[in-house]
Amino acid sequence: MFTRITAAVGIASLALALAGAAHAQSDFPTRPVTLIVPFGAGGGTDNLVRTFQPALQEALGQAVVVENRPGGGSTIGTALVTKAQPDGYTLLAVDTAVTVNPALYDNLPYDTLKDLTPVSLLATGPVILIAHPSVEAKTMDDIVAKAKAEPGTLTFASGGNGASTHLALELMKLETGVDVIHIPYKGTGPATTDLLGGHVQYMFNGISASRPHLESGAIIGIAVTGDERNPAVPDVPTFAELGYPQVNPMSIWGVWAPAGTPDDVVAKLSDAFAKAINDPAVVEKLNDLGFFTVGSAPGEYGERVSSEMKKWKNVVETAHIVVE
């Protein structure tokens, strides 16, 4: 039943696409645009997209349909977009996973840079190293000293093997040469719970998820990534300030189109996304959620992704992270 409906819709949209191909570019978009979020509703990427969705509809002059296609660490939704018509009507909004997955998995059902074309870097987000107040080592120097004196004793929670919170830890291990225990969880939610309970000692996490606990004193902040202190947590120093400038993992969010999407359509989309994400009301809301809004040109996003991919490939290979 469903496959038949999907097939019918597919054929209909194919027909539309073919009919429209000749003159679609100039008056793009003429029908609703689908933005695929390869994660569940209510997650970070979903929250980001839903926040600027109204502004994007206004900028494009067309309805924008957000579709959650979760699963396989974003690979299922991403694969869908790689197979979509390259007409600009099916797009992908994704987080750091898109830069990390090629290093983590050797059986990805697509080649990220060949099958997708970048549209815009939407936002970046710093990561914060937090700790349970009961820990002895409360500064970066103390942590490094303690981890070197007693290797394999400090415990660091993460949102899962290969998750951005795990890779931040691996980057720290790599840059400081320390040996600590990694405790993976199914998502940062349960990891935060165990950190609050003092069952694990440290954790890299997003700023917005950590802020209320920092304010209540249930956890302490050690350091944030980013070039300058974060307005949401002004008391927490940056890694660079503390003498660890190499420990600088950032989460990034961006939009992709299927490879082969006409350049002028990509340019038009990129402009619309930049306009939507930099809408003052949107910026204010997103800053509160811990995002730094960007809205870059396609090329800039592509370069950023290429350099991030190299960085994470190095981290994943050195740390021997296995996710088959």
């Binding site: 469903f2 496959t3 690979t75 394999g152 093997n161 606990h213 959620l289």
Partner: protein, 507 residues
């Protein structure tokens, strides 16, 4: 007193015309998605989430919460009438609810479940209002070692759950554990039993397993040429709705115990209504004077789990609102919704947004009352559902199940998986293998494994961690006692059986 002031603030918020409307919409939608097999609160809330962004935060939360606990309310209707659970948490209601319907006591079961839901939910609301912060603190003391011991205890309960041959029950638990293993291993990142398919990389959802082995297999069983005739219960009088004194006495204790179980499992992040209802069933069977009545239409087997799953649904808001950490996937959705509204979920929600917390609590109580008022008259209609010819009823049910399973992840593969589990469930029932232990294995297996490995990782491989933590030790001792009691009663039964066999030659 503070509580009075807080309550009056709460009711002021909840009784505003628009919020009452959201509450009514929420619980009505909740009841229907609860009754419709397969379409659970998860699918509904993820579908409706975008719509709520146009509302004010408190209204949106009242509505979503109404869907959530409303769905627990309605979910037992089809379990009782058709042996098809409305969603996973109600699977266990089938065990005794449906036999009740077969005996023509469908109305008693439905009324019992509605009242149990109401009492369980209402008590849980009082609990959350009075004790949410201390309860949240208590929940935080549950680390990996404590979770392991608790889930081990729960898995033991699965053995008690099993009907019929013990060996088959254990076998089904093991099959469940294997299914639970599918997907990316949290600790090593390796994919297990996923056969290289990305669709299996996140594991098999217990919702699909529950719908397959309980619901689809039941539909298949009705396709048999000699399948059972159209069900009893069509002749229905309103007088049946009044529970007898005997029914009441039987059910009351189970409702209170169910509330206790539900409150505990709901307050602990990571467990939730489904586990609570299964554990409650085991508890009822364990404390019953005549446990052999279970599986044959024992009212406590319906009221206990019903009270538990409603209490757990309400208590699930404790970690969500007081700590800002979601207890399950649905709570994660609601947290996401709050964040879009710019409300920072966390320890300060109660102090910073008192109208949100107290308004929600007051609305939940109003919602529970509305549900009771809504559900009792509906029972007459539900019972008449049985008059619908099976040729129309079952295909519709199958369609709803497919919609529900598809809508959760928007993935057609899940429907194929559902069909597979449906076929497997049919074969299991033909072989006399009970499905409930299988489902519990699927749910608990990953939790046990994950927490055991995590506890050992933190203790650096020292297994004494499970007995040096007091809560963990206590839970393991209870588990040992349950196991000892089980073997003792089995031993006694066997001896009694032997004696009986001696006297009655025919057996």
């Amino acid at each position: 007193m503070d509580l009075i002031a807080n309550l009056s603030l709460g009711f002021e918020v909840a009784l505003s015309p628009s919020n009452i409307l959201y509450c009514v919409i929420g619980v009505t939608v909740g009841t229907f998605v609860g009754v419709l097999p397969g379409i659970g609160p998860m699918a509904t809330i993820s579908m409706l989430l975008p719509i709520t962004f146009g509302l004010d935060p408190i209204g949106a939360l009242i509505m979503l919460a109404g869907i959530y606990y409303g769905a627990q309310f309605g979910s037992s209707v089809t379990s009782i009438l058709l042996n098809i659970p409305g969603h996973a948490a109600a699977a266990v209601i089938c065990l005794d609810g449906h036999p009740m319907a077969k005996q023509g006591r469908a109305a008693v079961g439905l009324v019992g479940s509605a009242i149990a839901s109401f009492i369980g939910g209402s008590l849980a609301i009082i609990l959350v209002m009075q004790f949410a912060p201390p309860l949240a603190k208590f929940a935080l003391r549950f680390g990996p070692a404590e979770y392991f011991s608790m889930m081990a205890l729960a898995l033991l309960a699965a053995a008690i759950l099993s009907e019929g041959e013990l060996l088959k029950g254990i076998g089904m638990v093991l099959v469940g554990l294997i299914i639970g293993v599918v997907g990316i291993d949290v600790n090593s990142g390796a994919q297990r039993l996923s056969f290289g398919s990305w669709n299996l990389a996140d594991g098999v959802s217990f919702v699909i397993v529950a719908m397959g082995v309980f619901a689809v297999s039941e539909v298949m069983a009705n396709l048999e040429p000699h399948s059972k005739p159209q069900m009893v219960g069509s002749d229905f009088t309103w007088r049946e709705l009044v529970p007898s004194w005997r029914d009441f006495r039987q059910a009351f204790g189970s409702i209170i115990r169910g509330f206790g179980v539900g409150a505990l499992f709901g307050a602990l992040p990571g467990s939730g209504p489904t586990i609570a209802s299964f554990i409650s069933y085991s508890v009822e069977k364990k404390v019953a004077r005549e446990p052999e009545r279970f599986g044959k239409g024992a009212l406590e087997g319906v009221t206990g789990p019903e009270s538990a799953n409603n209490a757990a649904a309400v208590a699930g808001f404790i970690p969500t609102l007081t700590l800002g950490v979601p207890g399950d996937a649905i709570m994660a959705l609601m947290l996401g919704c709050l964040m879009i509204f710019g409300i920072q979920p966390g320890p300060r929600v109660i102090t910073d947004n008192p109208e949100l917390f107290w308004g929600l609590m007051a609305s939940m109580w109003i919602g529970n009352l509305l549900l009771l008022i809504l559900n009792i008259p509906l029972i007459g209609i539900w019972v008449r559902v049985l008059k619908i010819p099976y040729a129309i009823l079952y295909p519709s049910i199958l369609l709803f199940i497919c919609i529900g399973v598809f809508a959760t992840n928007n993935n057609t593969f899940d429907i194929l998986l559902l069909a597979g589990f449906g076929a497997a469930g049919y074969i299991f029932s033909k072989l006399g293998c009970p499905a409930a232990p299988l489902l519990l294995g699927v749910i608990l297996g990953p939790l046990i494994e994950e927490n055991m490995r995590r506890a050992l990782l933190i203790s650096r491989g020292d297994p004494t961690v499970f007995v040096t933590h007091p809560i963990s030790l206590g839970l393991l001792l209870v588990a040992a006692a349950v196991l000892a009691g089980f073997f003792y009663s089995g031993f006694r039964k066997r001896r009694a059986g032997l004696r009986e066999a001696d006297t009655t030659v025919d057996g």
